[in-house]
């Protein structure tokens, strides 16, 4: 936490970047970290909280070991991304936004990762899987367990 703050010279203007680094460290934004951050930056906790809840990239809940992002950008949508999302939801028995009870997978959606030519795209912990098909979902998830 200290080193993250030092990287940004405790600059209030870098709040979004600081939160990103904290999230990268803890996998989510723990309450204690937000309180500490607000004191360190001299910014009201309400401001830190409003930023943390405004941007889609942040989570206030712990997330699974594997973060699945299903791209729902337009190019992926016209090539059937919703069907892929539904297949993953069925397979993991969670809805988008949810985490499996064993904390293995968190399922989220993203509005375009710029990999449009290969839609539909699923990203698992930063690994891109392009040209996804509904019948490939099971094997894909299995390769991570």
């Amino acid at each position: 936490m200290e080193s993250i703050l030092d990287n940004y010279q405790r600059d209030k203007g870098m709040l979004v970047s600081i939160l990103q680094d904290i999230q990268a460290e803890y996998n989510y934004l723990p309450k204690e970290a937000l309180v500490e951050l607000s004191q360190a930056l001299g910014a009201p906790l309400s401001q830190v909280y409003s930023v943390a809840t405004f941007f889609k990239a942040f989570s206030l809940e712990p997330r699974g070991r594997y973060l699945i992002n299903v791209c729902l950008g337009t190019a992926c949508h016209v090539r059937g991304a919703v069907k892929i999302l539904e297949a993953i939801e069925r397979e993991l028995e969670i809805k988008a936004g949810g985490t499996t009870t064993d904390l293995e997978f968190t399922l989220e959606t993203v509005n375009c990762v710029g990999c449009c030519a290969l839609g539909p795209v699923v990203i698992i912990n930063g690994e891109y899987h392009g040209q996804m098909k509904t019948d490939k979902v099971k094997a894909l998830l299995k390769s991570y367990t």
Binding site: G13, A57, E86
Partner: protein, 618 residues
């Protein structure tokens, strides 16, 4: 790296870099862009490096990992220089053979060549691939010549020459005059004349001025900014320094989407290398001009592509736009005059300075100059990034470059301009692409997303998709946008789920007018475009949903059923195994399977797995 302190030193360095390079030495160029990464290029790159080491060819054969050349559909892409032999869909298994056969013996490996989908002819050389042939790759063409992590590669293709010229031979006013004369318009969507914006910001009151590069490419379906920032970050940095000199700014920001990790990384590397060479920082090239750049990451909010929201986010606040009675060029970041341009706009600047405004103004249409990069995606054979001169028709882009619609399906419409744009129907395919013509068709240029749709795409579903997207991304500050989008989404959901009623179309149109008139920022005022254009051009589809409770394209789940075509089904059991709810029963070999409509959840998996087309959507 040594700091360069004069234009002469820069030219000397450039000469020595070029001299060290043998243009005839074989070089294997591998795309390392996000698209090819998704197709596994990382292991291909590693395999090439390993194989070259194993065969002790390190001094004889070069390897360059570059940004995206555009043809993502066919990745991982490999080009063998100097002959420009083009291999597509290359895998690890092909690597040893490429080196021993093509690189060392000049033999062509037939199976890796690109077959023209229309003629079946195999194409050997990259420039002859139809996808590239009709393009004019002024901006993106350099991606392939550069390893984006090496500033020397950029210098070798003439990089930072425009900067020297500007700093030592032109006054700020002359730079602005040149950009104005070129007719360059903002590539982020609005199409505002860049030179005019720079001039206003230069004249604005105040000593501190900020320069921003908008790489918050939120428009889903567009990825040219990502590819430029990943593949040629120095061209953007050079453009920004030139702009900063013209405007009189000393601090710049590159605001990159959080979803683009590689773009963030490459932008940071580029800035660091430019600083080490003295091309950024204090007293650039000994000119006395100071400018530095910081990289900020976004947090995944579409609205932050809007200039005032982006600036709020840069200040560490929630990314909400403000009313722009006072423009951001007067009062922007930290209330100081701020000039914001899009990635592609900045990348055009060095080109204009190097080649001259007159040269640039000859490309394009009377009111839209230069080239534009589009991301050609969706239901089209050759997907990827396409750079064409303004004025080319939609038909040329989709059919000549894009190779038409896959599987012989019929073209239905092309969506341009992202969530703020609209769908353009078949009848308008001969529309020339420029800012004003697309607006006339009810859509807009936007940042350059071009999503092609075929007969299997439902236009009401597309309208619902965009409205739901915008509803989620609306920041909630102004009422028309926050509430209007919610109501529109409810109505569209009703229509797609069979609860549509007479008058819904008119109500959608009325709500659209309210949003256009009453919203605070462009997110709200342009949000109805996808609805209005689909109603305008595809009204019959809306009516089929509302009156007949049918989805002609077979997309809207509540209005369709999956059926087995008995004559075509040999009972192979693929769908039986794939069905997640056990709704399909095997009736014995060579007998068609039976689908239980009661159990069917319409997930579509059976349709996807069937290799014989024995399942239809009704």
């Amino acid at each position: 790296m040594n700091r360069i302190s004069s234009p002469d030193e820069l030219e000397k360095l450039r000469k020595s870099i070029i001299k060290q390079r043998d243009p005839n030495k074989p070089c294997i160029i591998i795309c390392g862009g996000t698209g090819c990464l998704a197709l596994g290029c990382e292991s291909v790159i590693a395999a090439f490096k390993q194989e070259i080491k194993r065969q002790r060819l390190e001094t004889k054969v070069g390897v360059r990992v570059t940004g995206c050349p555009g043809f993502c559909e066919r990745g991982p892409l490999v080009v063998i220089k100097p002959r420009n032999i083009f291999y597509q869909r290359v895998s690890v298994e092909d690597v040893a053979e490429i080196i021993s056969e093509t690189v060392l013996k000049d033999n062509i490996i037939d199976r890796l060549l690109y077959p023209d989908p229309n003629t079946g002819k195999k194409i050997i050389y990259e420039p002859e691939v139809p996808f590239y042939k009709k393009q004019k790759r002024l901006i993106i063409g350099n991606n392939e010549l550069i390893d984006p992590t090496l500033i020397d590669d950029y210098l070798a293709v003439g990089g930072y020459a425009a900067l020297t010229r500007v700093l030592f031979r032109m006054s700020p006013e002359e730079v602005i005059g040149e950009v104005k004369k070129s007719g360059l318009r903002g590539r982020g969507g609005g199409g505002f004349p860049t030179g005019v914006k720079w001039g206003t910001c230069r004249r604005a009151q105040g000593d501190t001025k900020y320069i921003i590069c908008n790489c918050d490419e939120g428009d889903p379906g567009a990825f040219m900014d990502r590819s430029l920032m990943e593949g040629n970050p120095h061209s953007v940095v050079e453009g920004m320094i030139i702009g900063a000199y013209a405007i009189g700014g000393h601090q710049g920001y590159i605001y990159v989407r959080n979803e683009y990790p590689l773009a963030v990384r490459n932008a940071r590397i580029a800035i660091k290398q430019a600083e080490e060479y003295g091309l950024l920082g204090n007293n650039i090239l000994g000119s006395g001009f100071d400018f530095s750049i910081r990289v900020n990451r976004g947090g995944g909010a579409f609205v932050c592509g809007e200039s005032s929201a982006l600036m709020a986010s840069l200040e560490g606040k929630v990314g909400e736009p403000r009313a722009k009675y006072v423009h951001t060029v007067e009062k922007g970041l930290w209330d100081k005059p701020t000039n914001l341009n899009n990635v592609e706009t900045w990348a055009n600047v060095p080109l204009i300075i190097n080649q001259g405004a007159d040269w640039f103004a000859e490309i394009g249409t009377p009111k839209s100059k230069g080239t534009k990069i589009f991301s050609l995606v969706g239901k089209v054979n050759n997907t990827g990034l396409v750079e064409v001169p303004m004025g080319m028709t939609l038909r040329e882009v989709i059919f000549d470059i894009g190779g038409g619609i896959p599987k012989g399906k019929r073209f239905k419409g092309v969506q341009t301009g992202g969530p703020s744009g609209g769908v353009i129907p078949e009848g308008l395919l001969d529309t020339p692409i420029d800012f004003d013509e697309l607006t006339k068709a009810g859509s807009m240029m936007g940042s350059g997303g071009m999503i092609v749709m075929d007969e299997d795409n439902c236009m009401v579903d597309i309208a619902k998709y965009f409205i739901s997207f915008l509803e989620g991304e609306s920041c909630g500050k102004c009422v028309p946008c926050r509430e209007g989008l919610k109501r529109m989404r409810e109505i569209l959901t009703d229509i797609t789920e069979g609860r549509g009623k007479e008058g819904d179309i008119e109500l959608l149109e009325l709500l659209s007018t309210t949003l256009i008139d009453g919203s605070l920022c462009a997110l709200g005022t342009t949000a109805p475009n996808p609805v209005l254009t689909t109603i305008h051009y595809f009204r019959d589809e809306y009516e089929a949903h509302i009156k007949d409770k049918k989805c002609p394209a077979g997309v809207c789940k509540e209005l369709i059923t999956y059926q087995i075509i008995e004559e075509k089904c040999p009972g192979c059991r693929l769908c039986v195994k794939a069905c997640p709810v056990g709704a399909i029963t095997f009736m014995g070999k060579k007998k068609p399977v039976v689908l239980d409509q009661e159990k069917c959840i319409k997930c579509g998996i059976c349709y996807d797995v069937c290799k014989l087309g024995a399942i239809k959507v009704e």
